[in-house]
């Protein structure tokens, strides 16, 4: 039962590197196929890049944890993840609000134009 003591840390490092690269490639592929607009890809690509860098240079996470005063480096990883996701979600909320406003203007304009045609 002492498997946990023999954890091969390099495995998760390789998994993390592969995962980050897959995320970046996936996002780029979505842009290429025009399924994703560049505007919405930037934050995702940024997140992917940050995770790639963190998984390539393991010391970086420890250094960051000490810098901001986190005693347990994996917690710093979650912090970065959550902050990144928050940014993306707020970006979504703003985009949805803009869409809603545009949608309202379009519906109003369409209604007024139809009315104008009926009056002629």
């Amino acid at each position: 039962m002492n498997d946990l003591e023999n954890v091969q840390v390099f495995r998760i490092q390789i998994l993390a590197i592969v995962g980050s690269i897959l995320l970046i490639v996936f996002i780029l592929e979505l842009i290429r196929r025009k399924r994703l607009k560049e505007e919405f890809s930037i934050l995702w690509l940024g997140m992917g890049t940050i995770f790639l860098i963190i998984s390539l240079f393991r010391g970086l996470l420890d250094w960051f944890s000490v810098l901001v005063g986190i005693g347990y480096p994996p917690a710093a990883l979650f912090l970065i993840l959550i902050i990144g996701l928050m940014f993306i979600l707020i970006h979504f909320s703003v985009a949805i609000s803009e869409l809603k406003e545009a949608n309202k203007k379009l519906a109003q304009e369409l209604g007024l134009l139809r009315r104008q045609m009926e009056e002629k």
Partner: protein, 236 residues
């Protein structure tokens, strides 16, 4: 004076005909516009049967704010000098439209609100609603220095300046209390006149308890944000 009655309607097939008949009987000098807010019932068909009633069909449901604003946009485009908003559910009495318009005619106010509470009437509200209305009224008095007794009333008359402002900028949902702040922030004058309102002829109140909590939070947030903004954002 070119005058328009704006009737926002969302699925009001049971009441719209009665409202239109009354409006035509009591307000012969008005043009009548029904803004059908993406109804899924026969609201639009019924309204179109009335000759002289103009109907704008919105392709999607925008909510009361977007629908009323469409009316303002129409009024602005056609250079109406006054507009009166009347609900399609039969709550507002077309017989009182003239009373609402009087201060506008005399140039005494930019917007006139028909209030249920100015005179002690028979209107009975539930406790929660009473509390909400009291809170809004207190906020009005504190922030605007003016007592508005019925912030949520949608029975309103507007002059040209108000139409101009609100056609550019009108809140989306639960717009009534917020609009008062918007108007006052842009130095327009608001006045109340006592009106009687009928009980609903059909349908139920559109607001349930969780919704009324959302209502209050949304309205106070909007008012707070409005206070943070600079003045006169709506007028050019």
């Amino acid at each position: 004076m070119k005058k328009l009655i704006i009737i926002p309607a969302f699925n009001e097939e049971k009441t719209i005909a009665g409202v239109l008949e009354e409006v035509q009987a009591h307000c012969p000098d008005f043009d009548i516009l029904v803004v059908n807010d993406g109804s899924t019932d026969k609201t639009s068909d019924i309204a179109r049967r009335f000759s002289g009633v103009r109907v704008i069909d919105l392709a999607v449901n925008l909510g009361i704010g977007g629908a009323v604003q469409t009316g303002f946009l129409y009024a602005r485009g056609k250079a109406y000098e006054a507009a009166v908003q009347v609900d399609a559910d039969g709550q507002h009495k077309p017989a009182e439209v003239a009373k609402l318009l009087r201060p506008i005619d005399r140039g005494e106010a930019d917007v006139v609100i028909g209030s249920r509470f100015l005179e002690k009437g028979r209107y009975k509200a539930r406790l929660g609603r009473k509390l909400g209305i009291w809170l809004l009224s207190l906020t009005n008095r504190l922030l605007l220095g003016q007592k508005i007794t019925d912030s949520t009333s949608g029975f309103r008359a507007y002059n040209k300046r108000a139409i101009e402002l609100l056609s550019r900028d009108y809140p989306d949902d639960y717009p009534e209390p917020e609009a008062i702040f918007l108007l006052r922030r842009n130095a327009l004058t608001v006045r109340e006149v006592p009106t009687e309102m009928a009980g609903r002829k059909g349908g139920k109140s559109s607001i349930s308890l969780p919704e009324s909590v959302y209502y209050m939070v949304k309205v106070f947030l909007a008012i707070f944000v409005l206070m943070l903004r600079k003045n006169n954002r709506g007028l050019p």
